[in-house]
């Protein structure tokens, strides 16, 4: 932000709406940036006010990841697109074993979007970033004409640092490894679907959106031989495990009755004809660890508030077909296949 005389711009009218001038780079745009974005995301690097942020760099290797967020509705039980966009990119860096350091955020706003909603979203981003200890150090805003967007889209990029000697990868799962999940599956996806479909539950399903780097740090500090970590977001647990199985050229066998699933999420999935294995999570961790360290890893996860309901859900084995299979609750065996297309509710 460049230095500007105090009181030069009128206070932003939060009863107003985004118009094309907010993205035009003029005075209105500067006012939006200063009074809304800079105020909510405030930190020393953003305050440098130049085209790029100059950042200190601890020793180690850089890890970088980017993620675009287009969720609808923008506000949902347990969160909103703002905190979701912070957690999303932080988690992508964290599952590499890295300490997330900085975030950048790009906003695409639709003409007519209420400024009060934008303030709420950016406020939520600021809170999430402060809670995570990862500042938003750079940003950009564009405004598109009405009908060319859906309120607000946010792209975030995270940078982190990975200590030497630590190498986690989806390609490192091996026969004999144990597969763990840090808690109940499907909470985020069903919180969104319940909003969209107007499913009224006595206690609403709450999104699990959260930053996972604290949980991951505790797991790594436990000394367990961690081979691969991933956050099972879009496509759910099933997709994540298929990715790891394919990358590592191994098979997996899960136990359905070991996978944590909330009653209300299970019920909503039944109603909509969805399989919770394919429903998105935004604050869950899949960990593939050496078989002998399964209990140690489980204890480390359960000791953290985000991992209280962690469970060992299966094991890795040799399989030239790289199939993920599951022993079902009644005792049969099925494949847990890649998702075909979108997960559509069955029609009868």
């Amino acid at each position: 932000m460049s230095q500007r005389r105090r009181g030069y711009a009128r206070p932003l009218d939060l009863g107003g709406k985004v118009d094309l001038s907010h993205g035009a780079g003029g005075r209105t745009a500067a006012q939006l940036i200063e009074q809304l974005f800079a105020a909510a995301l405030d930190n020393e690097f953003l305050a440098q006010g130049d085209d790029g942020a100059v950042l200190p760099m601890p020793p180690g290797r850089l890890v970088m990841s980017t993620d675009s967020h287009v969720v609808s509705p923008l506000f949902f039980p347990g969160g909103d697109i703002g905190c979701l966009s912070v957690h999303g990119s932080i988690n992508d860096v964290a599952v590499m074993g890295a300490q997330p350091l900085y975030l950048a955020a790009g906003f695409i706003l639709e003409e007519g979007f209420p400024l009060a909603d934008l303030a709420r979203i950016v406020g939520s981003m600021g809170q999430a970033a402060r809670d995570a200890g990862v500042p938003v150090v750079a940003g950009d805003t564009k405004v598109v004409e009405r009908g060319s967007g859906d309120g607000v889209f946010i792209t975030t990029t995270a940078v982190g640092v990975l200590r030497d000697g630590l190498n986690l990868s989806g390609s490192r799962a091996q026969a004999g490894d144990a597969i763990l999940i840090s808690g109940h599956i499907g909470d985020h996806g069903m919180a969104i679907m319940a909003c969209r479909e107007g499913l009224g539950f006595a206690s609403p399903i709450v999104s699990d959106t959260a930053s996972l780097h604290g949980l991951i740090a505790d797991l790594l500090a436990s000394g367990a031989a961690v081979h691969a970590l991933r956050d099972p977001t879009r496509g759910g647990l099933a997709t994540t495990l298929n990715e790891i199985a394919a990358q590592s050229a191994v098979g997996m066998l899960l136990r359905e009755d070991a996978i944590p699933l909330r009653r209300e999420v299970a019920a909503a999935c039944e109603l909509l004809g969805l399989d919770p294995l394919y429903v998105a999570n935004e604050g869950k961790l899949v960990a593939v660890v050496g078989g002998n360290d399964a209990e140690r890893a489980l204890a480390a996860l359960r000791a953290h508030p985000l991992g209280r309901d962690a469970a060992i859900i299966g094991a890795v084995h040799v399989d030239p077909q790289h199939f993920v299979q599951m022993v079902t609750a009644p005792g049969g065996r099925r494949m847990v296949d890649w998702l075909a297309g979108e997960q559509l509710p069955r029609i009868c």
């Binding site: 039944e270 077909q321 079902t328 009644p330 005792g331 049969g332 099925r334 296949d337 075909a340 297309g341």
Partner: protein, 375 residues
């Protein structure tokens, strides 16, 4: 979850499996057809084949609405959306059915046709109310379970006096299809499809009741056990079928007594009878043209009948040459007997309709059971 967990209990399932194994006589083969796609899906989804003795085989029936819809009917819907400028609304899986010229409703949508995916018939009606200047056509498919909701919206459209809403009716009838299978030469004389009994549909039977199946038990001497969609429902129904076969009886039994009565849902039946009448004949994929096997909209609701409103002429189209959906739907072949299964035909690129719906025999085997083909 109450009323669900009880029916998926592993201990009870293993207990039922042991009883089935004990009841199934050595040296005798048992072949049962589960008519309904919901059962096909449940059998694969829960891996129930692993719980059944080797001499017992389940044959997947044609009770999957997406699977039995012939290409010609999908072509009609695509033509309406692509050439007549209507808003075409239908249920999710319907959009993916392969039609003529490499098209599907989903591809027509990508090419600019106004195709909307809906979850309920009421959404189609809402589209018509919200778009008074546009023609809205509801592409209605399904067995007796989905027919009453279609009847409701047609009656509602009449009450509201909507003049931009119509239905492309493709509703089909379960008993006609079962009768057609039982009277086919493969079952009756050739013996190429041995059927010792039927697992009767769950949701369909809540509407039509158990009475319509009595004819099959009597006339064809085939036991029918109506079953719910949960794994324990299915295992119990299979045990009941094995016992009927062992005793040499053929009765209609109702395992799904918590939802199905002998008479069914009379209110729904009245509603359907008010809006629909029997169609003289209807082409089914796999079964061919079956007389009196489907419904059409009655004359008094003619203005809501898309076939009349748009003067549509049905043109039958042959299936893809390599596709074995027809034989699979008749129980003559299994998915893995098809040359293109899992190669050219996958859930992402279905050649045949059985690979489209998760209730289709091919999609169910591909998604849940194909590790068995490899092992």
């Amino acid at each position: 979850m109450k009323y669900v967990d009880e029916f998926r209990d592993g201990e009870l399932a293993r207990g039922l499996a042991r009883r089935i194994a004990a009841a199934a006589r050595a040296g005798r083969r048992y072949s049962f057809m589960e008519f309904c796609g919901g059962h096909t899906h449940a059998i694969s989804r829960y891996g129930l084949a692993d719980l059944l003795p080797p001499q017992l085989r389940m044959i997947h029936g044609p009770g999957c609405p997406v699977c039995v819809l012939p290409i010609g009917r999908v072509d009609l819907a695509i033509a309406l959306a692509a050439e007549r400028g209507v808003i075409l609304a239908s249920y999710g899986d319907t959009l993916r059915i392969p039609a003529s010229g490499g098209l599907s409703l989903l591809k027509a949508k990508a090419a600019g046709a106004d195709v909307r995916m809906i979850y309920s018939s009421a959404e189609a009606l809402a589209l018509a109310r919200d778009n008074p200047g546009r023609e809205v056509v509801f592409f209605a498919i399904g067995f007796e379970t989905t027919t009453p909701p279609t009847a409701v919206v047609i009656r509602e459209a009449a009450r509201l006096g909507l003049d931009n809403f119509s239905v492309l009716c493709c509703h089909v009838l379960t008993p006609s299809a079962i009768g057609h299978i039982l009277s086919s030469p493969e079952v009756r004389s050739l013996g190429s499809v041995p059927i010792d009994g039927f697992v009767g549909p769950a949701h369909v039977s809540t509407v039509i009741g158990s009475r319509p199946y009595e004819y099959f038990a009597e006339e064809y001497r085939k036991p029918v056990v109506i079953a719910g969609f949960e794994p324990l429902d299915l295992l119990q129904a299979i045990l009941m079928l094995v016992e009927q076969v062992n005793f040499g009886v053929a009765r209609v039994e109702n395992q799904f007594a918590r939802a199905v009565t002998r008479e069914g849902n009379l209110k729904a039946q009245d509603l359907v009878a008010e809006v629909f009448e029997l169609r003289r004949e209807f082409e089914w994929r796999g079964l061919g043209t079956v007389p009196y096997s489907a419904l059409q909209i009655r004359a008094r609701y003619a203005r809501f009948d898309a076939e009349r409103r748009f003067a549509l002429a049905y043109r039958p189209v042959a299936d893809h040459k390599a596709c074995e959906c027809g034989a699979i739907l008749r129980g003559l072949k299994a998915p893995w007997d098809c040359k293109v299964f899992g190669t050219a035909c996958t859930p992402e690129t279905p050649l045949g309709s059985c690979m489209v719906s998760s209730e289709g025999a091919c999609a169910a085997h591909y998604s849940y059971g194909r590790f068995r083909a490899v092992a």
